[in-house]
Point group: C2
Chain length 414, copies 2
Amino acid sequence: MHHKDLKIKLPRLMDKIQKLGQIGALPGGGVCRLALTDEDKEARDLLQQWMKQLDLEVKIDELGNMFGIRSGKSSGPLVMVGSHLDTVGTGGLYDGSLGVLAGLEIVETLNEAGITTARPFAVANFTNEEGVRFTPDMMGSHAYSHTAELENMLNAKAVDGSNVSIRTELERIGYNGQLPCGDLELAAFLELHIEQGPVLEAEEIHIGAVEMVQGIYWTEYIFKGVSNHAGTTPMPLRKDAGYAAASTAQFVREQVLKTGGNQVGTVGLIELSPNLINVVAQEARVIVDLRNTDEGALIQTQTALDAYVQRISKQENLSYQKQELVRFPPVQFDKSIVSKIEERARALNYSVKRMPSGAGHDAQMMARLCPTAMIFVPSVGGISHNIKEFTKEKDLERGCNVLLQTAMDLLNLG
Amino acid sequence: MHHKDLKIKLPRLMDKIQKLGQIGALPGGGVCRLALTDEDKEARDLLQQWMKQLDLEVKIDELGNMFGIRSGKSSGPLVMVGSHLDTVGTGGLYDGSLGVLAGLEIVETLNEAGITTARPFAVANFTNEEGVRFTPDMMGSHAYSHTAELENMLNAKAVDGSNVSIRTELERIGYNGQLPCGDLELAAFLELHIEQGPVLEAEEIHIGAVEMVQGIYWTEYIFKGVSNHAGTTPMPLRKDAGYAAASTAQFVREQVLKTGGNQVGTVGLIELSPNLINVVAQEARVIVDLRNTDEGALIQTQTALDAYVQRISKQENLSYQKQELVRFPPVQFDKSIVSKIEERARALNYSVKRMPSGAGHDAQMMARLCPTAMIFVPSVGGISHNIKEFTKEKDLERGCNVLLQTAMDLLNLG
């Protein structure tokens, strides 16, 4: 049969999503599978088992990135589909997992149809995309596409203050592979992902053809003051690190609204020390997450934030340390692949729109190496990084079919 | 010899301060002796041993308050001197301990001089003055002077979320005593304490004759929103509990400065959940500490705060819970005892000034039962609730001598 008539099998995909979702499952739903924990190892082991059952050649690189390779008629550059299996502390069943399991579903569909493609095909699981336990996020794909930074990534220490590093945790769970990072030659990269935002659902559109990813800046500020008695220290004599942290979070909101456009800003992490009711905080840590599709506006917002942190620290007689944890500029995807995604969606009679990605994804790293694009499916309520994260089965099926069709186009080229 | 010539012995006092300071000692100095922990038990055991060595009759009440009683010619109401041995998480060697050990030093001075006083004398250690691990603070003296609330105090759960209560911890460390709380009849109560503020040092004054304690309000606010992806959730669609918490801390500072006068306000505790870089916080907890000598102004500040919390929650589409952890109005001390303290200080040729207390103290509870006052000595740099808390030995000696002389006046009455 002609490959335009090939369809994935939803029950097969759902079965894998459910089985994987039991690893690190949280009470009330959702999962916690932080990068390189025991739960991540268990998920990796299951993926490896599935890859082998589908006769894929499993390769693991120095940073623990996992690849399942299906050979083609040529031994040339391969078409890669992938995402990540790690999650945030309160993650859902779809963020990341969908993009990896959809890759397996494509392999299963091709195997079943007895198709040998012109180009080889690979399914990828990238290490530490979420960046919750180790920074930066998108670490595996970052190192894959910026191999000079591999050593920094391997030496990254856990942000929870424990003394483990990517290197020691990879060794601990047995995923410190032999394949040199970035070694596989790529013809194209595709990532299917849930939108994690409210747009597709609100506009009742089936498929997002993602043409760009907004820029992401993560900056840590640690304020240092003097802990003192909350009742006896007159306000003018205070060096209150906690106040500076709170005031910074307040400023982020005000500045983001002032910048407007696509600018978003979040302070999701605040830590006071000693964090006691009647003690002025001696030290406070905040991490600010700023994102925008417009790099100029993003830089302006960050500059205003840095100036405010300096101002509030001076006003409160504090010292502070600033650390740039992440600086990702906006990324444009490959126009011809984005057009293919639109064509294939329309050919399948699905509604489709071009849109930017608000979240960071491995695809934005891979875009540096080869023609790349992403496919979004709707997130109910736009909710994600939350145990309530959910995407309807019909939408998962549509997204996976568009991924299959687009991949087939690329696989049969050359 | 006439009691006006009696003096305490500084080396003896310092020796006890140092020995007690080794219990719960922190690296770099200071101590952590949270109420009813193993460290608190060890400190209580040492105090009990010292009391017995001084031939005091040791009594422990239902809430773990400890009393060492020295009999007088009469069996009537006794003159009590005391404070607390528990500390904050980053406490010093003097806050609380000084007031208890000074009591022992008075006993030792009287024993040595072979003096039998008209009234009996008691040294007290009150349970959980700091209120860090269990609220409210000043718990032991509160229950002693408001005996109707004993049951609530015994049932108070640890704020760290663990399931222990005052009752279970008292049983665990063996300080659930037999003496009914509030049973001892009092003629007067005195408390010697470090100022914990910068005033005496700044004005180079030896002794503070404390004529009042400012009012203290502690209020907990728990904001509840929706955790969501930091990159894909447009600002207008957010329900960011973390932002509300930070904004509340910012408001506290602004409102406190607006109120002016003696108003102080602190947000020393902020907790976000899940507290992750790229996740909008679903829940946030802040505890606001407001204090003022002027009750009207204190109530106005609290009212403005409550209104702001309601406003910001509505604006951010959050729900919230409010809990009044502490509501202590300002307390006036006994004018005649405050005058005595001034007289005795001047007779000893120490400089002295009347002043309010910025911190809460057990004495403010005891003032409900009997004529009460406090004596302050300077804190270097005004620093306290900090491992750098320090008071010069000379100042400790002066304070202890004024306590001795004032106590003698009261002990020989009636």
